[in-house]
């Protein structure tokens, strides 16, 4: 089972904190990979909030492809960042190529375009580059979005963190999602590694999604270009959130009603029962049957955690105002925020949908049954 480590805070925190938390949960993952997605970046990126950052890996051929494509599209490089790679003999991590996070200025034609048009441009650019990379394995792109940075690599999470030089020069962010991968039923393929991202929505999960095929088929048939990939059965969790929140315009907590709908008799107790019943039927094929604990962030920086409704995977939230950790294991929370009142820790159950607004001042638990 994969291990999950997320931190949301009012101040910038080091990515290494989330990785160290993963290390405390080491018994749970086999160290087959690490994926981190950071939002609301500090350090060198603090002054570049409005510039989309292209995160990925490439070899020289891929580098040229990226440069050519981005130039042709009219993107201008604003800032280039690369991790300070530290290769240690005996390490489980092998350098795959050049790890890059490049902030671009929008093409002139898009400078005054709406956010929606910019979002479409960024998604299409990422997908075009991904397709070019899939032809020859010369490049991977994970995210292309303002103030969001992603790194993924195979190996023990702590060793990957050290490989990226985070122990010496850590990336800083207010929101960090990190997943220590347990490689089970899929070959190690970077596009199958969490977290998954689409237009500001990002999720990671531990568990398996038995309803993957109906979920995937439904999303694919929405004819939205961003609903693709699906190298992992967990990618649908991110796209379902995108679909119901961005495309359908539903408030965030209805994610719970989409992926784990209530029984009709329970829906009858909710004030919006008419809308809910229709929604349940219309989105029947997005219902999941876990086990899954889903942790993610939204475009506005809200962080959430929820569970499937029957099997439940571990998930716990603890912290203090200004800093909360959302982990799959309590020892991870202890690592990040040892000095907290553990009595206030929250372990979401089948009806709970937990959110933490940007600024990380309080944890809100929304109960699906009560609505």
């Amino acid at each position: 089972m994969c291990r999950l480590s997320a931190i949301t805070a009012s101040e910038y925190t080091s990515v290494m904190e989330a990785i160290m938390a993963l290390d405390t949960m080491k018994e749970g993952h086999d160290g087959s990979g690490l994926g981190v997605t950071l939002k609301d970046l500090g350090g060198e990126f603090e002054s570049l909030k409005e510039y989309p950052i292209l995160s990925g890996i490439c070899n020289p051929v891929g580098r040229k492809k990226i440069d050519d494509y981005m130039e042709a599209k009219g993107f201008k490089v604003k800032f280039m960042w690369e991790p300070r790679i530290t290769e240690v003999p005996g390490s489980s991590v092998t350098k795959r190529g050049q790890y890059l996070a490049t902030a671009y200025q929008y093409p002139d034609a898009f400078m005054d375009k709406s956010d929606a048009e910019k979002a479409t441009l960024l998604m299409q650019t990422r997908l075009d580059l991904r397709r070019q990379g899939e032809e020859d394995g010369s490049l991977y792109v994970f995210t292309f979005w303002p103030d969001v940075l992603t790194l993924k690599e195979v190996g023990d999470p702590l060793e990957v963190g050290e490989f990226f030089g985070f122990d010496k020069e850590p990336l800083l962010a207010r929101t960090t999602l990190a997943q220590g991968r347990q490689n089970t039923n899929y070959a190690i393929y970077l596009y199958a590694c969490h977290p998954f991202f689409l237009q500001g929505y990002c999720t990671m999960t531990n568990g398996e999604n038995t309803a993957f095929v109906p979920n995937r088929d439904y999303l694919l048939s929405r004819k939205f270009e961003g609903y693709n990939g699906y190298n992992s059965d967990s990618e649908v969790f991110c796209h379902i959130m995108h679909f119901m929140h961005k495309q359908l315009g539903y408030p965030i907590q209805y994610y719970k009603d989409v992926i784990t709908p209530l029984k009709d008799s329970e829906i009858a107790q909710r004030p919006e029962k008419d809308a809910l019943l229709l929604m349940k039927r219309s989105l029947r094929q997005l219902c999941i049957d876990g086990p899954n604990c889903v942790i993610g962030f939204m475009p506005d920086g809200t962080v959430f955690m929820t569970q499937d409704s029957k099997k439940l995977r571990p998930g716990i939230i603890g912290g203090v105002p200004g800093k909360y950790a959302l982990m799959s294991e309590e020892c991870g929370v202890d690592q990040v925020i040892p000095n907290r009142n553990k009595d206030n820790d929250i372990i979401p159950m089948r009806y709970d949908f937990v959110t933490i607004a940007p600024g990380a001042q309080e944890v809100q638990v929304w109960n699906q049954l009560a609505g």
Binding site: M1, T184, N185, G207, E208, T210, A211, F212, V213, P214, D217, Y218, L220, S221, R222, K223, M244, Q247, L248, G249, Y250, P251, Q253, Y254, T260, P261, K263, D264, P271, E272, D274, A275, L276, L278, M279, R281, S282, L283, R284, Q285, C287, D289, G290, P291, S309, K310, K311, G371
Partner: protein
């Protein structure tokens, strides 16, 4: 020198030409006559035979040959009185002296067309081979990385939706604060939540009164006592007037077919209806006999049947092969769906049923564009019927598995897989694996399945099988009393017993479905289209159905 009688008997059939040969044991037979009295085709008759026996009477052996006349049971060699292998004779025999035995080398079809009349029968396609849906296995078992559910402990919701389901994008939702509400009270198509196995269309008339009554009682009990919302289609021929005006109507799907039998009575009963029916099925085709209409023979049109159907007694009731008002799917079918919907104020799902066919996709595409079409039922070649030409049953039609799969994948392509439910029929439970067949079809993309022949076999012990056993449904001579209007025959059938068995069947099917879905890890929603759970050890089938091959 030739004898006065002919020796060659060239114009007669030998018993070896017949599909079933009677094995009669003289030593056990008490000559009670029950077997000959009960035989539906009069294939056996009492006869006399001269026997030569060696006999000795004295204290010491003094064998002598004597001849004596004895009474025997003889199988007739008239093709129109062929033994159908039903085995009713062995059922009534007190001494286990008689039993029909299947003759795999028979030449029945070479001869069963006397008078230029092709062979007609009831039942389903005579192919005892394992059907495609029976070859499918469920191979995605949740193991360790993904704990299976407990069929006995977890809550399972084994229900499906019958009715057109609006696309989420088209729902008029409003966000008030942080809460959703419906923006207006525009038209929302009616949807029923039902058990995914339905009883398919079998008419009063085709079925005997106790059979139909037993099914209906069983369905009502399942809904009202067992909380399993099974629905049942009337078949063509209407519903009993009292049922139309009862609260039980909601468990029934009246069928409108090309003869419109019973619909005058249904329409006239509309003002007195206190419940809406579950749905309305418009039958355009039947899997067992695609392109054929129905025929209820005159001798089956007794008083009750005549009243329900609104016709005189004792006349042949032929339904045309196609609806006479239908000249184009775009117009007439759409109009028919809308007209019937309108009769119930658009509160009842109305859907067509077609035979499995290569042209199913054309029908589907049309229905996908018709906002009032509530579903599509496709009836595959292994569906059964009360009466049809043998050639129609054996050679016409399309297997359900690939037909359904093509339609589902087409809906996926259009993004309408959740909008227009598909129901599959034809051979479900053919080999007794009701729940497994239903689950396989669901994972190929069906929202539910229909059964007909299976419920006759399971609930009323129908003798029929795919070696052409019995299959006398068309003659009104059903030895079980299932498909006959002859009171002497149908009094053999106890409606209460049928109802009990209907309840047994659905309760056990629900348990079996749980036993299938639990290891797959699915419980909240029916795994419609969850094709990754399926596999087959036949590469060609795997390729065609786009599922995995295993060996």
């Amino acid at each position: 020198m030739e004898s006065t009688g002919r020796l060659d008997h060239n114009s007669e059939l030998s018993l070896l030409e017949f599909p079933y040969i009677i094995r009669w044991r003289e030593d056990r037979c008490t000559r009670c006559g029950k077997c000959t009295a009960v035989c539906p085709t009069k294939a056996i008759e009492p006869s006399a035979m001269v026997q030569r026996i060696v006999h000795s009477d004295g204290a010491t052996p003094l064998p002598a040959t004597i001849r004596r006349v004895s009474h025997v049971i003889r199988q007739v060699r008239d093709i129109d009185r062929h033994c159908v292998g039903c085995g009713t004779c062995s059922l009534v025999c007190p001494n286990m002296a008689i039993v029909p035995e299947y003759n795999p080398n028979h030449k029945f079809l070479f001869h069963k067309n006397r008078g230029g009349v092709p062979y007609k029968r009831g039942g389903r396609r005579n192919d005892p081979a394992t059907s495609t849906i029976d070859k499918l296995k469920f191979t995605r078992i949740s193991m360790l990385t993904d704990p299976a559910l407990d069929a006995g402990r977890h809550e399972f919701h084994i229900r499906t939706l019958l009715g057109r389901i609006p696309q989420a994008e088209s729902l008029q939702m409003r966000v008030d604060g942080n809460r959703l509400s419906l923006a207006d009270d525009g038209f929302i198509p009616p949807v029923r939540e039902i058990f995914p196995i339905r009883i398919g269309g079998m008419s009063i008339g085709a079925l005997s009164p106790p059979m139909w009554e037993g099914l209906a009682m069983g369905v009502a009990y399942l809904n009202e006592v067992e909380n399993i919302p099974v629905v049942m289609c009337s078949g063509e021929g209407g519903l009993p007037p009292r049922l139309l005006k009862s609260r039980y109507l909601k468990y029934f799907i009246p069928q409108i077919a090309s003869g419109y039998f019973g619909w005058d009575e249904i329409i006239h009963a509309l003002p007195d209806m206190i419940e809406d029916p579950a749905a309305i099925e418009i039958k355009y085709g039947q899997g067992a006999k695609p392109g054929d209409g129905g025929l209820l023979m005159a001798y089956k049109v007794l008083k009750l049947i005549a009243k329900i159907r609104g016709v005189p007694m004792y006349v042949d009731l032929a339904s045309p092969p196609t609806h006479q008002t239908k000249y184009s799917i775009e117009e007439a079918v759409a109009k028919m769906i809308q007209s019937v919907s309108m009769a119930w104020g658009f509160r009842v799902p109305v859907y067509p049923k077609i035979s499995g066919t290569k042209t199913a996709l054309a029908v589907l595409n049309n229905l996908a564009r018709n906002p009032y079409a509530a579903a599509l039922t496709i009836d595959g070649e292994d569906g059964a019927t009360g009466a049809a030409f043998n050639v129609s049953m054996d050679k016409m039609g399309h297997p359900i598995a690939s037909n359904l799969r093509d339609c589902y994948l087409e809906l996926v392509k259009q993004g309408k897989q959740n909008e227009l439910p598909l129901f599959a029929a034809g051979g479900v439970g053919k080999d007794g694996h009701l729940a497994a067949n239903a689950a396989a079809l669901i994972m190929l993309g069906a929202s539910g399945v229909d059964i007909g022949k299976y419920i006759m076999q399971a609930a009323a012990d129908c003798f029929g099988d795919e070696k052409n056993r019995c299959n006398l449904c068309n003659l009104g001579k059903c030895p079980r009393g299932i498909t006959t209007q002859d009171p002497r025959l149908y009094k053999r059938l106890d409606a209460d017993h049928v109802a009990e068995r209907v309840v047994d069947v659905f309760k056990s099917a629900e348990v079996e479905l749980k036993k299938i879905f639990a290891p797959l890890g699915r419980s909240t929603q029916l795994p419609i289209g969850m094709s990754d759970a399926l596999a087959v050890s036949d590469q060609a089938i795997a390729d065609r159905l786009k599922i995995s091959y295993v060996c």
